[in-house]
Symmetry: D2
């Protein structure tokens, strides 16, 4: 039921939805078969005083079938919302209000991940939909306290984060996205 990857953001009461820019579950399900949906994704990191990435935050969560998988901060961009607002909203939703993320000054993503329902077209898959995600590395300076369906955030060294073991546990091919993120900050080996 709660398939989440990247993230539905369902309005709580679809039947009486007063926000025209939001979609009911049924409408969203239909649109998902017709249009690529726009997402933002964030790789939370800790940096030292010189800006060097020392730790990478990976979310651990349980799927609807009880399986544990790892993922990144991600979610849909809503109608009328800027990319920055969407990024901030999803960081707060997944890491809690005390994470204090430092959003990048540049709106250009380090990578664009194209998720397709059918495997093989790109490195990324999402069986619910065709989603295109603009991905950012975001330093967080506060305390992370995952909420909703994210059970836990695991902080890893860049070396661990790019390992095959971690990569294999990540859903939808996000192990690749994590490696591309590490490449962009000079931490891929």
């Amino acid at each position: 039921m709660s398939v989440r990857t990247p993230d539905p953001d369902q309005p709580q009461e679809p039947s009486s939805n007063p926000t025209p820019g939001w979609l009911s579950d049924v409408e969203l399900a239909e649109v998902r078969q017709r249009l690529p949906l726009l997402y933002v994704e964030a790789v939370p990191v800790r940096v030292d005083g010189l800006g060097i990435v020392t730790e990478v935050g990976v979310l651990l969560r349980a799927t609807s079938t009880g399986q544990m998988t790892r993922t990144l901060v991600s979610g849909r961009v809503l109608y009328g919302e800027t990319l920055r607002d969407a990024l901030f909203r999803h960081l707060e939703k997944d890491l809690g209000p005390m994470a204090f993320p430092l959003l990048p000054a540049s709106p250009t993503p380090f990578h664009v991940a194209e998720y397709f329902p059918m495997p093989g077209i790109s490195a990324y898959t999402d069986d619910r939909q065709h989603a295109v995600a603009l991905a950012y590395v975001v330093p967080v300076t506060g305390t992370c306290d995952p909420r909703q369906d994210a059970l836990e955030i695991t902080w890893m060294t860049p070396e661990e984060a790019q390992s095959d073991a971690v990569s294999d546990e990540m859903e939808g091919g996000r192990g690749t996205l994590l490696r591309v993120a590490l490449a962009s900050v000079g931490q891929l080996r």
Copy 2:
């Protein structure tokens, strides 16, 4: 009738549309009020043997009210389509089949332009919709022969392309996008 900016890509016979990933005019109009739509945009350029941009291609077209405006190559990404396929399709549609564009090896855009129906949120506006456009500089090596509602392509020097005169003629704030494109190739002054 033919409001185009960035680009509707209307299916020819909406009533009998057999492609589930395509939307009828009515459906598209509705979705436009509910979701940000994903676009690609391209700034066609001529480069010399060292890769230096020598000319920039700007499209001239007539709006539904008969006004002449300038624009760039742009259009929607369809369901199931990769960004590259969308980019190639729109380049061919706007510049003709003999333009021979050289798509960039990197899928990361030089800029992400956020178009809102209401002015003031960003530098870009589109009164039909909220659209997010991934923008690329694309060298073309062949002969451009604009089709459809694009009347003509004008090749300008980088200096002309960033002038206030050209900027003022461009629709939806694309004068800014053109300047950011020139900045990305080291041609902004």
Copy 3:
């Protein structure tokens, strides 16, 4: 005597220089005619809670002839020094120890500025040398207190910073670099 653009970093006692990686004034003057020198440059900015650039810091300084010019944080990369270390050192030197700069997680510059002694080859000139500068936008969170030959830091809105008036006052073509910086953070108009 103290021509500075981008920045010599002369060791204080060249005659008894004990650091083999440093050059005496005479040696540096000679090398400047033979090799391109590597520089880093930084555009200091203030950002809001969403990472949007709200102010840009421009340095005001007096040249050896008493003329007032505007410039950016810049300086040479020394032998054995990482780009990050060089960037931090020059930020501290030009903005003081309480500026608290947030160095970018990514080592890739937003632009590479090529300074030549002869005008016309690129947008940038430096009559002392051929210098290649890796340029970064750096948010600063503390109090700036320019030292050495930088007399003052002026904080401007992005609109002011890209004006022709400011551009004309900047030395070596850095008005262009400032505009490219603003383009990279989505603030060029």
Copy 4:
């Protein structure tokens, strides 16, 4: 004698060197202990009609001790030379005059590799010097015919090029640079 990594570009007759911007072997050896030297590096690739990287070119060469190692196109930027000119010169030198490289329109590198004589500071080492290399992915459209000390160019799939086997054979840590290059073109897995 022929230590090459990244590349010395020795003038042919140092004793009667008429070009003031060039250094004799002795002078270069001395400067190498005092200043970081500026390099360009290129990862030659083949792309398909949509710009997707299908093959990566890796150079095979013999070191002075007869060992076979793999490397990329790389070399020093000379005094008065633009980055593009340096890139083109080294591509021609390493791949021959019929390679027809398509230099990127943007001068911003996908990565900056910092080579230090002492290991551990970064992913890259060069026991001769401290070199900072601006790295570019460059599609080549013609026939490659390596010259000088490069014995051979091997074309590999992106999958092979990022394998540990290939990585281990590359000198100075360039296996990492190759992976970062593949990340930048969406081909890292």
